[in-house]
């Protein structure tokens, strides 16, 4: 067993006869594909166990499920490959270019735009905002008509998108200045706790959940590469200590902003 240099930290057994004669591209693709199938194994086991042992039911549309699994595995393989080819180098190159340019306003504007733009159209957020609007009508905060629902959901979405923009601005400033992250996050937690006691109860669940759904699969790698890139090019910063943390802010500020949103709209 050998550990591949560029896989997901997996160990696979290279079969000489098969691998021989293949181009590096195909070989790398197959290695990633094997890793993807391994990543899907837990889901297969959990679902099979509960379906057959606990619920004691046969699998519905087994061939459809199998086709789906192949799609998921190939998709994951392409994604990871594209990550290393595209998203990571892009985030690092842009971090480098911003540092060279030396314009703080430019960098912070970019951070805000990236956070806002990546969040405002996020499908998971659109779904949760709609649910949130329905919860608000149930709590009699807004009228139960389509216009009020749409407007509430849109404002909720904009609130979350602004909060993620603000989060990336704070996060980038932290990397530039080298502020220790835990003071900011713990301070944030204390603010969240204080706001929770003041906010109307029907918004609390949505607020806490909104922190988790803002960070999409394309934003995360880009933002991680940007943070690590900035921490690498700026003198006196250690990428291991200062590079991460942008996503942490992006999952904390939405909680605060949505709680405040609930207090303003809920009108206590």
């Amino acid at each position: 067993m050998i550990a591949p240099a560029d896989g997901n930290g997996i160990a696979i057994v290279p079969v000489r006869g098969i691998v021989f004669g293949m181009t590096g591209f195909v070989r790398r693709f197959l290695r990633l594909l094997a890793a993807a199938f391994r990543d899907l194994l837990p889901i297969a086991l959990v679902i099979t166990f509960f379906q057959l042992v606990v619920l004691q039911q046969p699998f519905p549309n087994i061939e459809r499920v199998l086709i789906g699994v192949v799609f998921v595995a190939v998709g994951l393989t392409l994604f990871v490959r594209g990550l290393e080819m595209g998203l990571f180098p892009l985030g690092e190159a842009m971090a480098d270019a911003f540092a060279r340019k030396g314009s703080l306003t430019g960098l912070l504007t970019f951070a805000f735009a990236l956070g806002f733009g990546a969040t405002v159209a996020e499908p998971a957020l659109i779904a949760v905002a709609a649910e949130g609007a329905r919860a608000a009508t149930e709590a009699k905060v807004i009228a139960d008509d389509p216009d009020a629902l749409t407007s509430y959901a849109l404002h909720l979405r904009l609130t979350v998108a602004v909060s993620v923009g603000v989060a990336l601005v704070i996060g980038v400033l932290r990397i530039l200045k080298g502020w220790p992250i835990h003071y900011l996050i713990i301070g944030g937690y204390i603010v969240v706790m204080a706001l929770t006691t003041m906010a109307p109860p029907e918004i609390v669940g949505i607020a806490y959940d909104s922190g988790g759904i803002t960070t999409s699969t394309i934003t995360v790698p880009l933002v991680a590469a940007l943070g690590v890139g900035l921490a690498t090019v700026i003198r006196g910063r250690n990428p291991a200590i200062d590079g991460f943390g942008l996503i942490a802010f992006a999952s904390l500020t939405p909680i605060m902003f949505v709680l405040v949103f609930g207090m303003v709209v809920g009108g206590r």
Binding site: P42, L114, E131, P221
Partner: protein, 261 residues
């Protein structure tokens, strides 16, 4: 050819989703930075891989995992399965399989989460290999499993969400003061990373199903909160993982020193 149409629709939707990000990147690249990107062609191809890969990934999830996950969540929480009498109210012991399912699904979907793979690869690169990709992912997945299981328990018992979250925050703050400086930002990040494409839909379906099935719970009020749990617990488990690996290293060092020569 239904699946082909589904794939094309999802591909179109994914392209629409990434349009704002690409626009922002392009605007800043072209009008502000005005620097040539190294390997621009390779980056574009990589971007196409990411978008295409994500679209295929989503189609596969929607074909295979999501319908099955939703049906199973509904079946496991149904009163016919749990044996809960509608009138008597819920007893938390009727839902043991639900907690087990929540933990299993939380763990399994997190392992398949592409965003977590991305962050783990970055963490390995900048830590010089001291952080293992699989170790970190297992730690995060374990945290999500515990979080989602506890979250379903909260929905069943109907205890207030802020109570749990505040207790967890206190533990996170205490752990932060005992952790090494280099793991803290990564631990804080892992919460937001764990809940993405795969985990959110399945976990949300579980929460809504549970809140609908249990007498006295409203899906709109009590259905929320599972994501929040899935988001905080990895912070704890990643800090615990770092502490555990450091402790194992120390133990190994000590036993080697004490070896008789």
């Amino acid at each position: 050819m239904e699946i082909l149409r589904h794939t094309l629709n999802t591909l179109a939707a994914t392209i629409v989703d990434v349009t704002p990000i690409i626009t922002i990147l392009l605007v800043f690249q072209v009008f502000f930075l005005r620097q040539k990107l190294p390997n621009a062609r390779r980056i574009v191809v990589g971007f196409l891989y990411v978008v295409g890969g994500l679209a295929l990934f989503l189609v596969g999830l929607e074909e295979a995992l999501f319908p099955l996950g939703r049906t199973m969540a509904a079946q496991l929480t149904a009163p016919e399965f749990t044996g809960t009498a509608r009138a008597a109210g819920a007893d938390w012991r009727d839902y043991l399989w639900v907690y087990a399912f929540a933990a299993g699904v939380g763990f399994a979907t997190t392992i398949a989460e592409p965003a977590l793979i991305a962050v783990s690869l970055k963490a390995r690169d900048i830590s010089g290999g001291t952080i293992h990709v699989l170790g970190l992912r297992l730690a995060v997945a374990f945290g999500v499993a515990v979080g989602v299981a506890l979250g379903t328990f909260r929905i069943v018992t109907g205890t207030p969400l802020p109570f749990y979250i505040i207790a967890v925050y206190v533990i996170v703050i205490l752990q932060t003061y005992c952790s090494s400086k280099s793991i803290i930002p990564l631990a804080y990040d892992s919460g937001g990373v764990a809940t993405s494409t795969v985990t959110v839909p399945v976990v949300t379906a579980l929460g809504l199903g549970l809140a609908t099935a249990i007498p006295g719970r409203s899906p709109l009020i009590d259905g929320f909160g599972l994501i929040a749990f899935a988001c905080v617990f990895p912070i704890m488990s990643v800090m615990a993982y770092a502490w555990l690996t450091a402790w194992l290293l120390r133990l190994k060092g000590r036993s080697e020193r004490e070896k008789p020569r």
